[in-house]
């Protein structure tokens, strides 16, 4: 039957308005109503204050605030720190995911559970604990200090805290992809004469590259915004070990709300750009990978 035929037949019925399609499941009005009200009050309205505050600010003042040398130094530390932490986490995160998926050894399950520790431990606790470990009198900080390497109250300390908070993101995004990689692909590579190293770089790495990048970006975004664990270990010296969120905090404590807002806008744009990239990669992955379903769980840990 053609479309015209259909249209002609229903034409007789078209005199009265069609019934609206109705989902037989109950509660749509109530649930969407609560959801929208909640999101409106809790997210949209508060976020819009940033827009209003920024709009009310003269451009010259805005620019002066975000381009002050102290701010530039803070961006630099946040950015380079988050980037380095992301890279370190990619290496160790992949290693951990590999070991957890491929090998069976005593304590594997415990190790697996421990990976989530940085998600679960409050950032303030992480901050003081890391300071105690890496500080001048700590079990690792002391020997390093004797060798002339200062970690706590220096830029290295910022890096240590950023590695700590970002580690689970890489492990938890790479793990399911490695788990889902079927052995026959590797075996095929092996029968074709490829060695283990060659197989890893030619077969396994390309397969997990999107997940690795997602993990990197999530770890990076988390490190960029991190506050609690860093403020204890960094020493907070303006221009040297002061991260951007701390600078915002300082301005808030001085009741310089406009200055804080201006810096917040810079940070928000940076993190939204990162999340946007992650999402576009995930959409691509979704089309050909079943392991996508595990990503939301990882993401729900973000900042946790």
């Amino acid at each position: 039957m053609t479309m015209e035929h259909f249209a002609a037949l229903t034409g007789a019925q078209a005199e009265t308005a069609p019934r609206k399609a109705k989902n037989p499941l109950p509660g749509f009005g109530l649930s969407i109503g609560y959801t929208l009200t909640y999101l409106g009050i809790l997210v949209l309205v508060p976020l819009s204050t940033i827009v209003f505050k920024t709009a009310a600010m003269p451009w010259r003042e805005f620019w002066a605030t975000i381009s002050a040398s102290r701010a530039i130094a803070a961006y630099g530390l946040s950015f380079v720190g988050a980037l380095s932490a992301g890279a370190i986490n990619c290496i160790f995160g992949t290693l951990l995911a590999w070991v957890l998926v491929r090998y069976r050894f005593l304590g594997r399950k415990l190790l697996d559970a421990l990976i989530d520790l940085p998600f679960a431990v409050p950032t303030a606790v992480a901050g003081i604990a890391l300071t105690a470990v890496w500080g001048p009198h700590g079990p690792i900080g002391e020997p390093l200090n004797n060798m002339g390497v200062q970690v706590a109250y220096a830029r290295l300390g910022v890096l240590v805290a950023m590695v700590f908070v970002g580690l689970p993101f890489v492990v938890r995004t790479v793990q399911p992809v490695l788990d889902g990689l079927s052995a026959d692909v590797e075996e095929a590579a092996a029968t074709l004469g490829a060695g283990r190293v060659r197989t890893f770089f030619a077969v396994i790495l390309p397969h997990m590259a999107p997940a690795l990048f997602t993990g990197f970006a999530l770890s990076f975004a988390r490190a960029l915004g991190e506050y609690g664990s860093i403020v204890f270990i960094s020493g907070n010296m303006p221009g040297r070990t002061e991260i951007t969120p701390l600078l915002i905090m300082t301005k808030l404590e001085q009741f310089d709300y406009r200055g804080a807002t201006a810096l917040a806008v810079v940070m928000l744009l940076a993190s939204f750009a990162v999340l946007f990239m992650v999402n576009s990669i995930q959409w691509k992955r979704k089309s050909h990978s079943k392991s996508f379903a595990t990503v939301p769980r990882v993401r729900s840990f973000l900042k946790g």
């Binding site: 053609t2 229903t10 019925q13 609206k20």
Partner: protein
């Protein structure tokens, strides 16, 4: 309870799922909605259940218009294609669900559940979880659960679709038998014509959202209303012929189908594989001559291909092995074929 579907139309976006469909299910009958995928049969079943809202038209249970009634007050028993059993409940709890939410007393509910368990031959499985049952058992639990609150009508969506061939055979007969016992008005959806013909009192054939034919299985088999039905029901050869005011013709053969037409028009000739037989001599008319190009025994029957002389047209034939053997013909042999029965439909000018 009689079901009356009147002028139902429903579309999903631009896709017309149902187009002015009219179906009547007499009280206590077992009716099959048969059609290929995308024919709208499942949508129609869901409209009757109240799981979909039709854009136009009405659904009546008896004399009551239930079109606007919500699902839960329609009192229908619905068996989902994948059963939708409550996985965290035991078999007994699943069956008792409809009674529990209707606040039936515990003793009455237990009694009803027990009688259904034995009726459905689920004895001893009451405390199992759905995950511990076989496919056929899950099917019967779903049926028992739907029947427990004594629904006015029972609706089944591809009830045997997810089962393997042998279980399907058994359950088919068992469903027929069950229906003869409880006589609840039943509608089931299937894409398998054999299933529909074996189980149902009445078959409704749907195609592209419209009813092509409805009637008893015999009626549909013997008098298909149009070429779609003929094509869909059974394994047929579709050949090109023509018809005029006196009869139908195929390959210089006058066919036993007498349907006349106005003027001479091209026609499609439908011949079932079983409606052709062979002979070594030309003792019956009408006959056609040709060569056997392929033959293969499949159990008790032989599948053969018969190519017409002076033509590229081939006809597929299925005949009993005994008959084939007694004829003593081989591949490559010239034979004479008789057509026992044929259906001819004029080829209409088509817009599409």
């Amino acid at each position: 309870m009689k079901i009356d579907v009147r002028n139902i139309s429903k579309s999903f976006g631009y896709f017309p799922a149902l187009n002015q469909v009219n179906v009547t299910v007499p009280s206590g009958e077992l009716v099959a909605l048969l059609g290929p995928s995308g024919s709208g049969k499942t949508t129609l079943l869901r409209v009757i259940a109240g799981l979909e809202t039709p854009e136009y038209g009405n659904v009546l249970f008896g004399d009551t218009d239930v079109t606007e009634h919500p699902v839960r007050s329609r009192n229908v028993g619905f068996v989902f294609q994948h059963y939708a059993l409550f996985q965290h409940m035991t078999v007994s709890q699943n069956i008792a669900f409809g009674l529990r939410v209707r606040k039936t007393s515990k003793t009455a509910a237990a009694e009803r559940v027990n009688s259904l368990i034995s009726l459905m031959q689920l004895d001893g499985l009451g405390n199992r979880l759905p995950s511990e049952l076989s496919g056929g058992q899950r099917q019967r639990v779903a049926l028992a659960r739907a029947l427990a609150p004594e629904p006015k009508v029972l609706l089944l969506d591809e009830p045997f679709g997810a089962l393997d061939a042998r279980v399907r055979q058994d359950l088919r007969r068992w469903l027929r038998h069950l229906h003869d016992e409880i006589h609840v008005t039943t509608v089931f959806v299937t894409h398998d014509q054999e299933e529909a013909f074996e189980v149902a009192d009445q078959v409704v054939i749907l195609n592209k959202g419209a009813v092509e034919q409805s009637g008893s299985p015999d009626d549909i088999f013997d008098h298909p209303a149009n070429s779609f039905v003929m094509d869909f029901v059974g394994n047929v050869n579709v050949l090109t012929g023509h018809m005029d005011g006196y009869g139908s013709y195929f390959h210089n053969l006058v066919l036993p189908d007498k349907s006349p037409s106005i003027g001479t028009v091209p026609a499609k000739v439908y011949i079932r594989r079983q409606d052709i037989s062979f002979a070594a001599s030309k003792d019956k008319t009408p006959f056609i001559e040709g060569v056997i190009t392929y033959a293969r025994r499949v159990g008790l029957v032989v599948h053969a291909v018969f190519q017409l002389s002076n033509s590229t047209t081939s006809i597929e034939v299925e005949l009993p092995f005994d008959e084939w053997q007694s004829l003593g013909i081989q591949v490559g042999a010239s034979v004479v074929a008789f057509i026992k029965r044929a259906q001819v439909f004029p080829v209409l000018e088509q817009a599409s």
